[in-house]
């Protein structure tokens, strides 16, 4: 088991958001988390990455046998958890190449690897930038500053490709993307999956559209802080046709 979430209860400023969430992910699996606005999807993504402001009142999250909730955000990243942000942060004055090198070497050091030689690292950047069709000049500039919405999202997946995590959490990566950018992002993700079949993915999305490109093994429907229904990729199609009310109706039925 790569990730095991058991009976997770989370509050923000006293407001209950997750109310007993269970999820198990094995290496190589892709899980889609779908749900209406306010159901707790992004909370789940953020709690996995270690963002401040959430209080876990009950339950646990075990990543590769270790207590994930006990780790600082940087430790989680080094252990191999990667969050592709819904709203990537602009970092004026933090140069992309400098940022990437620091992040990359922090992860490598944690894995007991030597820092990569600059030439090799530049080659890696070049290769992954091509995969995400990102202009290399853009990567050298201040991180995300002045990037278009699509460029920011591609930059997230680009960073994911560089840092080579075990568990990739994609938080609404499709939001604000046009169809071309969506294809580039999905193509990037699928290439990474092919390169490393043991990588696992949690794809958090409101719409089914992304799942045409990144095909999930499992689809979970999150409503009011709990997974109320799980199935295969066809479940996403049902949802698209029927809307989230269909799940609610089914539940009460």
């Amino acid at each position: 088991m790569m990730l095991k979430i058991s009976d997770l209860h989370v509050e923000i400023e006293g407001k209950k958001i997750l109310k007993g969430l269970n999820l198990e992910i094995k290496p190589g699996e892709t899980h889609a988390i779908m749900g209406p606005n306010g159901s707790g999807k992004s909370t789940l993504a953020n709690i996995l990455a270690g963002r401040d402001g959430y209080e876990v009142t009950k339950g646990e999250v075990i990543f590769e046998g270790k207590d994930l909730l006990d780790m600082d955000p940087e430790e989680r990243a080094r252990e191999g958890v990667f969050l592709a942000f819904q709203y990537p942060v602009e970092l004026p004055g933090v140069m992309g190449s400098y940022f990437l090198r620091n992040a990359f070497n922090a992860v490598r050091e944690h894995r007991g690897q030597e820092p990569m030689k600059p030439r090799e690292f530049n080659q890696l950047i070049k290769e992954k930038a091509e995969l995400l069709q990102l202009n290399e000049e853009l990567i050298k500039r201040s991180v995300n500053e002045g990037f278009s919405g699509g460029e920011k999202k591609r930059n997230e997946i680009f960073q994911m490709a560089i840092l080579d995590p075990k568990l990739c959490v994609l938080d609404e990566t499709d939001s604000g993307l046009d169809i071309d950018a969506l294809q580039i992002v999905s193509n990037g993700v699928n290439t990474l999956k092919k390169e490393d079949p043991r990588k696992s993915f949690i794809v958090v999305t409101h719409y089914q559209r992304l799942l045409n490109y990144i095909v999930p093994d499992f689809v979970h429907v999150l409503v009011d802080g709990k997974i109320v229904k799980s199935g295969d990729k066809d479940l996403a199609l049902h949802l698209e046709e029927q809307g989230y009310s269909w799940v609610n109706d089914n539940l009460s039925a």
């Binding site: 270690g50 401040d52 955000p73 940087e74 990243a77 970092l91 620091n102 992040a103 922090a106 840092l163």
Partner: protein
């Protein structure tokens, strides 16, 4: 003792010092500096030390540490030995070019290096006095105190009252001085509180170009007061880059006044780096006395404990079509405090003035404090003046983003603070100077 009595006691103390000082300068009463001193000291006595009560310009900075100490003139006391190795450590040693070293305000020829770059004259006042160089003697007496307003700036008048040694820099017409001119002012260690009065006069002729670095260093934890004045005159189309590095001792008070007069089409920029010292006041007062002038003022402070830095600027736009730009940034830890007072004056004749002022601070502690006092005095109607001040903490979203990529919290904070200061460092053309200042900055975080 009330404040007024204390003030008058204080004046007495400096008066006594002044008399002793004047008497000590055997025979030099005939020197043109003598009349300059007497006149300036009278101006100081008339106004005394400014206090928050007597001067709006000193609202947030109190010179109490100076008022309560009987500082002795460091030049009178036997100077602590400073070796060339010490100097190399304190100076930006790898910067080739002229280097004048002053110990407690007194020129130290053996520690200095004059390279005779073409088109450049660098002399110490003391050296000049002994020489038969009439041309530069005349230059000194003609220009010294011509640019600084001693009635307005009382502490600058105090410096002038004790002026004896200093650096005279002349850049000849059309000369481009390639290597920076470095002035290193070292305060040595004394067992009693001491004061020194460094002085710089820079005269840059038409179409000349040069970089000047003033580097103030303290050795230890002794109490001292550096009272420095720099005057700079830029003739038409002169281009001067000036840097001031402040790494004074932990118990030091530094007062620095920079008076600048610019002629048409000249370009002036100064960047101050307030890295250490207990109380620092940086005054910069450029007068833009011609058309199409560019004037840039930059400042960066990184302070901790109870350090206090006051950046005080007055930019006086006298003629049309000039551009001035001010950017002051500070990072404040512990109980440190930053003050920024920026006045922009636009005279009736100064149409099409373009003046930008910005003051930005990051507070890293709840006990740190920042005060900003922007003032626009505009008498022309077709001008563009903007000013802005921001005070904030480290951006938590940015911090999380970096940490979520595996970067430690400490390093992430450093990266964000480095990013905050990047536009100040980007202005430094010399790679070695930029890297030295940036590395020092990172050490202080």
């Amino acid at each position: 003792m009330n404040v007024a009595e204390k003030q008058s006691e204080l004046k007495k103390w400096y008066q006594l010092n002044f008399q002793t000082f004047e008497q000590s300068l055997n025979g030099s009463k005939a020197s043109p500096l003598h009349s300059v001193r007497v006149k300036a000291f009278e101006a100081f006595v008339k106004n005394g030390f400014p206090t928050p009560r007597t001067s709006e310009d000193w609202k947030y900075t109190n010179l109490q540490p100076i008022v309560k100490n009987d500082f002795e003139l460091a030049a009178f006391l036997k100077s602590h030995q400073v070796s060339i190795e010490d100097v190399n450590k304190l100076a930006l040693a790898k910067l080739a070019g002229d280097r004048l070293v002053f110990l407690d305000g007194v020129f130290a020829p053996i520690l200095s290096e004059i390279t005779n770059q073409k088109g450049l004259s660098v002399r110490s006042f003391s050296d000049l006095e002994k020489s038969s160089d009439k041309q530069h003697k005349d230059l000194l007496s003609e220009h010294l105190t011509k640019y600084v307003n001693l009635e307005e700036y009382g502490v600058a008048a105090l410096n002038t009252g004790f002026v004896n040694d200093g650096a005279l820099i002349e850049i000849e017409e059309g000369a481009e001085i390639e290597k920076p001119i470095q002035l290193l002012f070292i305060s040595t260690v004394h067992s009693r509180p001491t004061v020194s009065y460094p002085r710089v006069l820079l005269v840059s002729r038409k179409d000349s170009k040069a970089t000047v670095i003033e580097n103030y260093k303290g050795f230890g934890q002794n109490t001292y007061f550096t009272c420095a004045v720099t005057e700079a005159f830029l003739d038409e189309s002169a281009d001067i880059k000036h840097y001031k590095i402040l790494e004074e001792g932990s118990e030091a008070t530094h007062y620095g006044h920079m008076a600048v007069v610019q002629s048409a089409k000249s370009k002036f920029s100064t960047s101050s780096f307030s890295y250490s010292g207990k109380l620092i006041r940086n005054e910069v007062t450029p007068i833009l006395n011609g058309e199409e002038i560019e004037c840039h003022l930059y400042g960066l402070s990184v302070l901790s404990e109870e350090q206090h830095v006051d950046n005080f600027t007055v930019i006086d736009h006298k003629k049309p079509n000039c551009h001035s730009n001010e950017l002051y940034k500070g990072i404040y830890k512990d109980k440190s405090r930053g003050v920024f007072s920026g006045t922009i004056i636009v005279r009736p004749d100064a149409q099409k003035t373009d003046a930008i002022q910005s003051n930005q601070a990051i507070l890293l502690s709840e006990d740190a404090e920042v005060d900003a006092r922007p003032q626009l005095k505009i008498w022309a109607d077709d001008v563009k003046c903007t000013h802005g001040a921001t005070v904030g903490q480290i951006d938590q979203d940015a911090l999380f983003y970096l940490r979520a990529r595996g970067i430690s919290e400490v390093q992430a904070k450093h990266m964000l603070m480095q990013a905050f200061a990047i536009d100040i460092f980007q202005e430094i053309e010399d790679d070695f100077l930029r890297e030295s200042l940036e590395n020092r900055f990172l050490e202080l975080l």
